[in-house]
Structures are given as C-alpha cells and as structure tokens.
C-alpha cells in the first residue's frame, strides 16, 4: 500500500529519500496513556491492556485502556475546543496549515523512532515502516496543510433580488476509529483532512497498535495545537469504539476496518444522533491480467498487491484473473517470484515479510488456506506457517480458484494470492464485479481501448492500470458497494469534514 511519491517516482522528481538507518534502540515506551486536552491521563476505570510484539509474542508495554467514561472526557475536550470563539475556531485558516506543516516536520524529525515503534507494534518490515508509512504520513499532512486556506465557498447567482453565499464550516467533533494495518498512516488520513477543515478529533487507535498514535499525541502538543483539538483514546472496539459511534456529542465518525464492524458503526450513528458516517471497509479486489500485457510487470505488481504488508491491506489484490493463454506462464512466474520473499525479523532490513498481527488473524488465515485446499483449489506454493508457535505464514499461491470458493469470496487479510483463469474480457469484468465489495481493482494490458473500457466497467472506487497500490495524498480513495461510504484523500475528503452553510441576503429593491 501507499507507494507514496518517493518509491514510485524515483529520484528525479521526488524529495530525496534518506538512507535507511539502523532501527532506533527503544528503551522503554514514553507514551502509554490516554491523550486528552493535550494532557496524559490514566484510564478512569484504572484498566490497562498489553500491546505485543507480533514477531516475538513478547509484551512491549501496558497501555491505559480507554472506555466510555474516558471517551466522554475526550468528547468534552473536543467540544470545548471547537466552540465558537475558541482559539481553534478563531485561528486563521493559513495558521491551521502552518500547524499541520509543523506536525509533519516533527514526524520527519522523529522518523526513526516512529518507524521503529511501528515495526515493533505491527511486525511490518522496518524498511517499509521507515520509507512507505512515514513518507505517506508526512505527505498526507503536508497535502492537507496546503488545503486549509483554499477551501472555498461560492457566491451564487440566485434568482430575484438576493445575494447568496456559501461558507464551508467544520462539522464539529469528529470521531475516528482506525485499524492496525497502517496505524500511523491511517491516523493521518483521518486527522489531516479533519483538522484542515477546522474540526476537532477524538481518535481511537487499534488495541493491537496504539504506540505510534500516542507518540503523535506528544508531537501534536509540541507543534502547538490548542488543547482538545486532537484527543487519543487507546482501547477496544466494543467499548471505546462503540462509545464513539454511539456518542451524542460526536458530529461525525470515520471508521476504517471490517465491513462487519462498518455496519455496526452506521447502525450506532443512526440510533444515536444521526452523526455523519464515512466508512473505509473491506475488499476482495480483482486484478485482470490480459494476454497483451507486460507479463513481468503484471506478475510483480499483482504479487506486491497480494503480499504487501503481509497481505493485511484492504486493497489486497486477492482475486487475480489471468487470461487463459498466459495463465500457466503467469502462475510459473508468480511462484518464482514468491520464492524470493524473505520472511524474518522485521527489524532486519533484508526482510520483506513479517508476522501477521495476532493469533486471531493468524488462525483465520490458516483456516481459509485449509478451506482452499479442501474446496479443490490448486496449492502452488506455501500454504503453511513458518515455525511452530510464531505468527509467520509462508506466502501462499492458489491457482485454479473458482468463484464460489470461500477464498474467492471472503477477505483473507493474509499473504494468499488466488489466481483464476478467464477467456473473454466481458467474462472477466462480470466475474470481477460479482462481489459485495468494490474498493479497488486493476487491469494489466497494453491496449488503450481495453484499458479505458475495463476501467469504465469495473465497479470499484479506484482502478489501477498497469500498476497497483499507487496511492497518493492527492487522489481520492474509497469504496463502491459494501467497501464503504465516502472518500478519503484528495480534495474530495474535505467534503466529508465540512458543513456547507448557505447565507442568503435580501437586497434592497428601493435603492
């Protein structure tokens, strides 16, 4: 996910990337408490929860566990911070932009520590944390920093003797619930547009990966955001998350996670105060590989799509439809390529695949792999865990997958590539669209006509042509169908964090 800028565009255009240093020597975790009103608080209930290093299973530290009462306090702080007349509301829009830039500067300064924490807490390879997650986070902040004073209302030529203006105002207190697969990046996708538009935020990081979010709390304070503008409540979905979704004092909630929980969030919003809801949910994303494609490129990109971040991406390329005439060759090349994946200690710069996030995910993935075997898909590579009690899974390739199989329908969220064969373009499109999901898709072809036809026909929020996971702060991202509501990133995301006010003024008719 998120080959944001540097990695994709090469040295010529992008900012020169720093060389990869050794991971930071983390001695004790500085920030493990709840962050409310720019202060560190302990849980009202006095509870903590452990966060584990998935590469070793060893506890990193205990973190204060937010529950309903803590969420109430956070909402109170966020509400006060967004009151009319508050420093945050009176601040020049351009000054909000300066604060977001400052936060980006601080992340750049603490990049090594943040990347190390991210790897310790998620198990993702340090190389990826350091370059992709950090760059994506910094760029997202800088992009939205630039928007603050460019969110224009309009003056409208209405009928009759009136003057009519629109003004884009913040929605108010925004709840955000984010997942564990890209903890820091998802944090930024949420807070950057929210703050750009002048909202305040109560954000719950995932219980698996609270550490980088809490470090950001300290940077938010250091950057000079007024108290209460960003509040961070580490905790569990069923308690703190549910409290946010159902809160009467929260005006909008943004959630990234499973479709199942997305449905609960929307329900909770409807049952409470009809808060605005944006959802970024699951996917079962089709890639269509045509015989006229650049085969090496297609193999590389689809595999990156399937295995990147241990397969733990909502954008994972989990259904690869390959045209019959090149199917065999494609499978062979994919196996060759998978063999080169280096599984190991995520802090080692040679490692390209780390462990899955936790035991629950691990078991779910292994169960789906078993189902694939049982339902008759051909296991071409992998299919087993690495080592005895660890959370590492071998990159796994199935061919001959049929549309009705569980591995063809359910989101696996693990390093499992499913390869299908197809005969005609029409057939491939129909099968690709036959899913409750509609997040992303890709097509590999050198034909201009085909590229345009297929990209028009696929029912997904993003279509990549001859590339994969090409995400940028400038481009909107979100799902058709049950993959979500609304869009994040790009200018489009600003609409999700703004209320539009129409001001109509009667003009004198006697003058």
């Amino acid at each position: 996910m998120a080959q944001n800028g540097v990695t994709e565009n090469g040295a010529c255009g992008g900012a020169p990337a720093p060389a990869l240093p050794r991971p930071a020597d983390v001695q004790g975790i500085a920030h493990t408490k709840i962050f409310i009103d720019n202060e560190w608080r302990t849980s009202c209930a006095g509870r903590t929860f452990p966060t584990l290093n998935p590469a070793t299973g060893v506890k990193i530290c205990d973190v204060q566990e937010a529950d309903e009462e803590d969420v109430d306090k956070a909402v109170e702080a966020a509400k006060a911070a967004v009151q009319r007349g508050s420093p945050w509301r009176r601040m020049d829009a351009s000054s909000r932009g300066r604060l977001l830039h400052k936060l980006a500067d601080l992340i750049e300064r603490d990049r090594l520590l943040l990347a190390t924490l991210e790897t310790l807490d998620t198990g993702k390879p340090f190389l990826q944390s350091f370059f992709i997650d950090m760059d994506g986070s910094i760029k997202t902040l800088r992009y939205y920093a630039g928007w603050t004073d460019k969110i224009h209302g309009k003056s409208l030529p209405v009928d009759e003797s009136f003057m009519c203006l629109t003004k884009h105002e913040p929605v108010g207190v925004c709840g955000a619930i984010i997942p564990w697969n890209f903890p820091l990046l998802m944090f930024m996708w949420k807070i950057a547009p929210a703050l750009s538009c002048g909202n305040t935020v109560v954000i719950k990081p995932a219980e698996q990966t609270p550490l980088t979010a809490l470090h950001i709390g300290s940077l938010i304070k250091e950057a000079g955001f007024p108290p209460g503008v960003v509040n961070i409540v580490p905790g569990f979905g069923t308690t703190a998350g549910a409290a946010i979704a159902g809160h009467m004092g929260i005006d909008k909630v943004a959630f990234t996670g499973s479709t199942e929980v997305g449905q609960l969030i929307k329900e909770a919003a409807a049952k409470s105060n009809l808060k605005r809801v944006t959802l970024e949910l699951g996917g079962k994303n089709p890639c269509i590989v045509f015989a006229d494609c650049d085969l090496q490129l297609a193999v590389e990109e689809t595999q990156k799509g399937a295995f990147y971040n241990q397969g733990q991406c909502c954008t994972a390329a989990s259904r690869v439809f390959v045209e019959e005439s090149i199917h065999e060759e494609f499978v062979r090349c994919s196996i060759e390529k998978a063999k080169k994946i280096v599984i190991g200690d995520p802090l080692d710069p040679q490692t390209s695949q780390g462990p899955q996030i936790d035991r629950q995910q691990f078991d779910k993935i292994m169960d789906l792999i078993e189902s694939g075997k049982k339902e008759g898909a051909r296991l071409e590579y992998g299919g087993v865990a690495v080592g005895e009690k660890s959370l590492f899974i071998q990159p796994t390739i199935f061919s001959g997958v049929k549309d009705h199989m569980r591995i063809a329908k359910e989101e696996i969220f693990g390093p499992v590539q499913c390869i299908f064969s197809f005969k005609t373009q029409q057939e491939a499109i129909e099968r690709a669209n036959c899913s409750q999901y509609g997040l992303v898709s890709a097509a590999f072809t050198t034909s201009l006509d085909r590229a345009l036809s297929v990209s028009a026909a696929l029912e997904t929020g993003t279509v990549w042509i001859n590339c994969y996971n090409a995400l940028h702060a400038q481009t909107p991202f979100g799902g058709y169908k049950m993959s979500g509501n609304g869009r994040e990133l790009g200018e489009y995301a600003l609409a999700e964090y703004s209320e539009v006010k129409t001001v109509t003024i009667k003009l004198s008719e006697t003058m």
Partner: protein, 519 residues
C-alpha cells in the same frame, strides 16, 4: 496596504490601532547600513556581469546617495536568461519531471529561508526603497512568506477535470505550465511583487525571467540567492536588474517568452500589450494604475472612517496602485471628516525610515518627487483647497509633506490622474446613486471602498462599483487567498488566490476514442 492581516497576526484581539503602534511590536533594532551581497545578474543559478559590462547606480531615497552599482541587463542578457529558462523548461527536464508536491516543498523552503532572513531583507528593502523599516519588517516580508506558502500548497492541487462529452469519447483536461514567463515588477513593493509573481508561476511549473525595477533591485537579488540555496534547478528563475525601455522591452517583445506579467503604470501596460501583439502574441497579464474611490457615507463610524481613509491614501508614501485617492464624503459629514482628516495628516510622522516611530519615508526617487510636487501645484492652480502640507518635507532625500486637498472637483487633474504620492483628495457628494456614478467615471477600476453600517447601502454600493476589489469598512486588506486585479484600464487578469493560477496555465484537452461510453 495589507494592514489588517498584519495586525491580526501580531496583536490578536485589537481591532482599531493607529499606525504608530508598529513601534510597540517586537521589531528588532535595524542596521541602517546592511551590507549588499549581490549586485549582478542571476541567470541559470549563476551570478554574472552584464554582457555589455554596464552598471547603474541604485540610490538611497532617504539621502539621495548611491548605495552601490548594479549590473545592467540589456537585450543580450535577456536572450541569455530566456535561453536558460527555455532549457529548464524543456520536456523531460528535472523541473518538468519534478513531482508537483515537490515544487510545493521548494516554495515552502524558499518561504522558510526568507522568514529566517526577515530582518536583513527588511533592512535592505528600506535602504533601497525608503519605506519605513517597521513596515518592511512587519508587513512586506511576512506577506511575502505567506504568499509563497499559499502557492506552495496549490502546486499539487491545481487539478484538471474529466469531462462527459457527447459521443463515444473519454475526455479530460490537463493543466500544464505555459512555459517561459517574463515578469516585470515595480519598485513600490519590490519583495512582495516578486512573491506575487513567482508564487503562482512556480507552483504551476513555469520558468521565469524577471526584470526588477532599476530603483529597487537589491532585495530581489538577495532572494535569488535563496532560490539557489533551497534547491530550485538551474534556469527556473532568472533575475535581471535593468531599465524598462531596454531590458523590459526586450522581454516584452521576445519571440521565445510565452507569457508576460507586468505590474506598473497603465502607460507602460499599453506598450507591453502592443509588444505582445507585434511579436508572438504572448499571453499578457497586467496590474496597472488606479484612481480608487473611497466612499464615506454619513452613517459610518467617523473615527474609523477617518483613520482607514488616511491609511488608504498615505500608506507606503502614497505609492500604491490601489491608493484610496478619491475620498468621496457625504455632505452631512463632509466638514467634520475633512477637519479630522487634516488633523490626522498633520500628525503623520515623516522622517528617517529606519526610525521605528516613522510612519512615512521618502518617495522613491527624484522623478517621482518632482511629479508629485507638480500635481500639488496643479491642484492649487485648478482651485482645490490645500488644507495642509503641499511641499517638500526635508532638505535632502525625497520627502514630501502629507498633503490634503478639500473641495476637489471631479474634473480636476488631481481627481483624474494617478499621483502616486502622499496627496489626499476629498470630494463631496449627496446621494448614493450620484456617488456610484461619479466613482465609476474613471478609466481605472482597480479598487474601491465604502464605509457604512447599513447592509442595504453596503450591498448597493459594492455591487454598483466597477472595480476588481471592493472593501467594506476596511481598506487595503490583502490576503494571498483573495484575487486582486483591475477592471478597465487598471489591468488584465487577476493575481493571488486560485484565480492567479489561471494566468500561468495552459489547459490541454485530451480526447480519446473509446469502444463504448457509459455514464
């Protein structure tokens, strides 16, 4: 100019302030003799002498003394600079291949470097231009920084569109840079006009050949050194000090300059537009003169209207294209307004621009000084009532007393022509309809203002005025976010805001045949 933004930045919560409060801000004591580090042409990120070897003196208007000699660009140097800019713009060049967001980063770094050197740049600006140091420091430089940061943000947000045209086609637009942009800037806000030009041109990916005014070349050249320091590729920005009829004309008629932006007099604006027509039809944007009406209705807050109107005219020694140089006052309050305006003008502190209490420094040069005194004579001759001032304000340097004329009539020279000096014209009117008609009876249409508490009157006047900017109960409020430019002979196009990007963009429509279109 630009006062409201300054005050809200430095003194939150205070809405009404007299200008001498500048001195209470945290402004460091200036050096009156900042060292000049750069006095050559800046081409291809290199410093060089003029091809002809010629130089010209730049003068301190507060003393009339020469500060230093500066290399004088002429046609041969313009050719060289255009070639460098063309090369930097070639398809596949580092500048063309650069991520838009990285162009934004470079502009941010330039803003950071300028902010770092605020005190030095403000000293140099005051030395070369004569404007009070407190203003250079607290108004000009901060607005430069804000303008660059604003456009830095646009670099990766200047989006084309996809368009649902009829038929089986897929259609989209790309916003591409125009190419080599010539930019000719004036001496009244040397640093700020440079930023207004560079910000949108560079955010959109153009390359620039800029001629700076011969009266005030020094700060622009220092900024050139910062452009190099922060890492803009060679040839992206080229800066040439020189004269209008030689270097300026060479840019205006150059066959390989794709666009020209000029800020200055309407007279020269005509020449620029003609030169474009006579050469390659380069795109032209013009920011020219004004004779901006400032209308005081009888229900206005009098104290505020007097102070704002004083500021509207006298700010920057009256050397503003948008100066409120026709102050129309409703008859019921005319006498009171005139009396209080005269009293305010008499209190205006004229003197050494490096003194933090100074509100008004010298005019920029002998020519302007003479021209203004000539206008004052014409005002007296044509029967306007000289209420205060009217002459030189010091034995040396180009200082002029704050001058107020009452009972000015619309047909007088001082009511029609741009004076560009500290000379205020106060005129009387009766009805709203009358004043809007009189205010619009000008070849200019740059800015205008109205002071009233009545919502209907505010709407009537602001909708009726033919001017690119209308201020209501304020004056000279500028933000990088809001467009600025002229109706009529005050200019073509708009600078600042999103609108400013249009002037630096070619729109390319790409239409692709597709097998079958769907909504």
């Amino acid at each position: 100019m630009l006062r409201a933004a300054l005050f809200s930045r430095t003194l939150p919560g205070l809405s009404r302030l007299s200008t001498n409060l500048y001195s209470s801000l945290a402004i460091p004591a200036p050096s009156c003799r900042p060292e000049v580090q750069f006095n050559q042409l800046f081409i291809n990120n290199q410093w060089q002498d003029a091809a002809s070897g010629k130089t010209f003196p730049t003068i301190n208007p507060a003393t009339g003394e020469v500060i230093c000699q500066v290399a004088e660009a002429d046609e041969a140097d313009v050719d060289k600079a255009v070639k460098a800019a063309r090369d930097a713009f070639r398809f596949g060049s580092p500048w063309r291949r650069m991520d838009a967001s990285h162009r934004g980063l470079l502009l941010h770094r330039l803003a950071d470097a300028i902010e770092r050197d605020t005190a030095y740049l403000a000293e140099l600006e005051t030395l070369d231009n004569g404007k009070p140091y407190a203003v250079s420091y607290a108004v000009d430089v901060p607005h430069v920084v804000k303008c660059l940061r604003y456009y830095a943000g646009w670099a990766d947000k200047w989006e084309g569109k996809t368009i649902p045209i009829d038929g089986d086609y897929f259609c989209y637009t790309r916003h591409e840079p125009i190419g080599v942009c010539g930019q000719i800037i004036p001496w009244n806000f040397p640093l700020l006009m440079q930023a207004w030009k560079l910000g949108p041109a560079l955010a959109t990916g153009n390359t620039v050949v800029m001629k700076v005014a011969e009266q005030t070349p020094l700060t622009a050249l220092y900024v050139a050194s910062l452009i190099k320091e922060v890492g803009f590729p060679e040839g992206v920005v080229n800066i040439l000090p020189g004269m209008g009829p030689s270097a300026g004309a060479a840019i205006a008629r150059h066959m390989d300059v794709d666009k020209l932006a000029f800020t200055g007099s309407t007279e020269v604006g005509h020449l620029i537009q003609q030169a474009s027509g006579n050469s390659n039809l380069k795109k032209v944007t013009l920011e020219l003169g004004g004779k901006s009406p400032n209308i005081i209705l009888s229900d206005a807050n009098m104290e505020d209207a007097v102070e704002q109107s004083h500021f509207a005219l006298f700010f920057n020694q009256g050397q503003c294209c948008c100066a409120g140089s026709r102050t129309y006052v409703q008859e019921e309050v005319y006498d009171e307004f005139l009396e209080r305006s005269v009293e305010r003008a008499k209190r205006r502190v004229v003197g050494n621009p490096f003194d933090l209490n100074t509100e008004q420094g010298p005019q920029v040069d002998q020519e302007q000084f003479n021209k203004i005194l000539g206008y004052i004579s014409s005002g007296k001759r044509e029967g306007a009532k000289l209420m205060c001032g009217g002459g030189a304000a010091a034995d040396r340097g180009y200082f002029i007393q704050p001058t107020v004329f009452g009972d000015v009539q619309d047909d007088m020279t001082i009511a029609r022509e741009e004076i560009f000096g500290p000379v205020m014209q106060i005129l009387k009117f009766k009805s709203l309809e009358e004043v809007v008609t009189r205010a619009n009876d000008s070849k200019y249409g740059l800015a205008a203002a109205v002071f009233t508490k009545d919502i209907d009157k505010a709407n009537y006047v602001s909708n009726g005025l033919r001017a690119g900017t209308v201020w209501i109960n304020c004056y000279d409020v500028f933000g990088a976010q809001a467009p600025f430019g002229g109706y009529k002979a005050s200019g073509n196009g708009r600078e600042l805001g999103e609108y400013g990007l249009d002037n630096y963009t070619e729109v390319k429509t790409v239409t692709i045949k597709v097998p079958q279109k769907n909504s």
